[in-house]
């Protein structure tokens, strides 16, 4: 079999990319070498839960004079099951599917997982960068993504200013996004009780009474301001502050909270209800330093929001250059998060229903560790092949002051374990 030459592959992919975008490739094709491509396939798999396969391709055209256009396509296919928020029990449990058609069950002592979803997500983004004059640079971008019951549209702009012989750069960015969720079976009323089909004649009307509009939206405003500083010939550092204001429907329509009796057994399940606004802020610091040949990449993020969540993230990579063409890059990331004010693992019968409640483990007290390694190999014509293998472990802590009855004998906070494999090819 004769392999296509790199030039031909590049032309073919350029034509394919432009075809997908509806752009005339003969107009946008410049001189040979103007386009560069970066591609990857990500495989993410949790033990007994979600599996995702995500191919990505990014094409960048350099128009000279620091002007560049980048186009990126992501296709994401998801399958598996996700924790619905309910507590395990010593008896099997039955839950109504989000559509109201049919049910799924959780075996005794097992974490209830909703296996309903199976989704494909397609995302397209474009970004244009150009200088305004010697010191100022600007950029604009548009992003769109769609999946079965969710879509998102966003636009962003950024402006940067160089100082001190381009050793210092001040960067500001603004992004606006509009997301829509339209789940099958419509949006459940927050805090309403899940109707289970036990053969009752009026099941459908009972179910419909817990459902509201067919879709909900949220608006997202993101602002970021950052300072990048060259320290010396081999060291660069960045600090940034970001602010995000999200308003609208922030509840997860598929998540529920168990209401348990004094014995810990579930009496009913309530749909979760989150506040309709959230303000997130973060401070980020990153330094990159080259030793003799190896490169250290260290970052830290402090995050806080008005839901009461704070988190610390430390990320360390060390690129160990084996020779001119090969490298190994060990990676470790540690994440620590405090819970949202309204996070509850369960509610106990008799207590007054709070205004907001969620048992989504992602809003609980959590630590997560990622360890992995990446191998990279430089090929001819500035091509690069890379493979990354990572292991992700997430653990949650109990913060409930009272844990009744059987809940002491089941696993309320199971670990989430995942494997991440990514194959990358730059050409």
């Amino acid at each position: 079999m004769q392999l296509m030459k790199p030039k031909k592959i590049r032309h073919a992919l350029t034509a394919a990319t432009c075809g997908l975008l509806g752009v005339n490739s003969s107009d946008s094709l410049g001189e040979e070498g103007d386009w560069s491509f970066d591609s990857a396939v990500l495989y993410y798999s949790e033990v007994d839960r979600v599996t995702a396969v995500e191919p990505v391709i990014s094409a960048t055209r350099d128009f000279g004079e620091e002007r560049a256009l980048n186009l990126k396509f992501v296709f994401d296919t998801l399958s598996g099951a996700s924790a619905n928020g309910a507590t395990p029990s010593d008896q099997p449990q039955t839950f109504t599917r989000p559509s109201g058609k049919g049910a799924y069950t959780a075996a005794a002592e097992e974490t209830p997982l909703d296996d309903t979803f199976r989704d494909n997500r397609f995302a397209l983004s474009s970004q244009w960068e150009q200088p305004i004059n010697r010191d100022y640079k600007t950029g604009f971008g548009i992003n769109f993504s769609t999946e079965y019951d969710y879509s998102s549209l966003s636009a962003n702009a950024n402006l940067s200013r160089d100082f001190n012989k381009r050793n210092t750069t001040l960067n500001t960015g603004l992004s606006l996004a509009y997301d829509t969720v339209n789940p099958e079976g419509n949006i459940p009323f927050g805090l309403s009780s899940m109707v289970i089909d036990n053969g009752q004649a009026n099941y459908r009307s009972e179910f419909n009474a817990t459902r509201g509009d067919s879709e909900e939206n949220k608006d997202i405003l993101d602002l970021i301001i950052g300072l990048t500083q060259v320290i010396d010939r081999k060291t660069i550092m960045q600090v940034s502050y970001s602010f995000s204001d999200v308003s609208g429907y922030l509840t997860d329509p598929f998540k529920i909270v168990s209401v348990v009796g004094d014995d810990g057994r579930p009496l009913e399940y309530r749909y979760e209800q989150r506040p309709d606004g959230r303000q997130k802020q973060s401070l980020y610091w990153q330094v990159k330093h080259q030793f003799e040949t190896d490169i250290l990449d260290l970052s830290y993020r402090y995050f806080w929001d008005d839901w009461g969540i704070t988190s610390h993230t430390i990320d360390l990579r060390y690129r160990w250059i084996l020779d001119g063409r090969h490298y190994l890059e060990p990676h470790i990331r540690y994440y620590d998060q405090s819970e949202a004010d309204f996070y509850r693992r369960f509610l106990i019968q008799g207590e007054s229903l709070p205004d907001h409640v969620s048992a989504d483990y992602r809003l609980g007290n959590m630590q997560a560790l990622t360890v992995g390694i990446r191998y990279g190999m430089a090929l001819r014509n500035e091509q690069e092949l890379s493979l990354r293998l990572e292991y992700y472990l997430q653990s949650n802590d109990n913060t409930e002051s009272v844990v009744p009855g059987i809940l002491n004998d089941v696993e309320l906070y199971p670990d989430v374990e995942a494997i991440i494999v990514q194959l990358g090819f730059k050409f």
Partner: protein
């Protein structure tokens, strides 16, 4: 007179302009401080390498942001906090 003394003289209803003033002072001071750091244009051979860019692999960074956005309550920092997925 220190910056904090100056700030203390402002009334409550002027607190926003005080904050703005303090941020401006901090930015100007840090930019002035940064003037002593850095390199000459001909000393950038290492910093110009692709692997020395702050985000040297944007594709992996994007995939990672998507994973952690889906699995944890925090987002943003090196880029926009964003959204864009239903994320089970």
């Amino acid at each position: 007179m220190s910056v904090s003394c100056i700030a203390a003289k402002y009334k409550d209803d002027e607190s926003m302009s005080v904050k703005l003033f303090l941020v401006t002072v901090a930015v100007v001071l840090s930019l002035a401080g940064c003037a002593n750091l850095g390199v000459e244009p001909w000393q950038r051979s290492v910093l110009a390498k692709p692997e020395m860019q702050l985000i040297s692999d944007p594709l992996s960074a994007g995939l990672d942001d998507h994973i952690y956005f889906s699995k944890e309550a925090s987002s943003g920092g090196r880029g926009f906090a964003g959204g864009g997925c239903g994320c089970n």
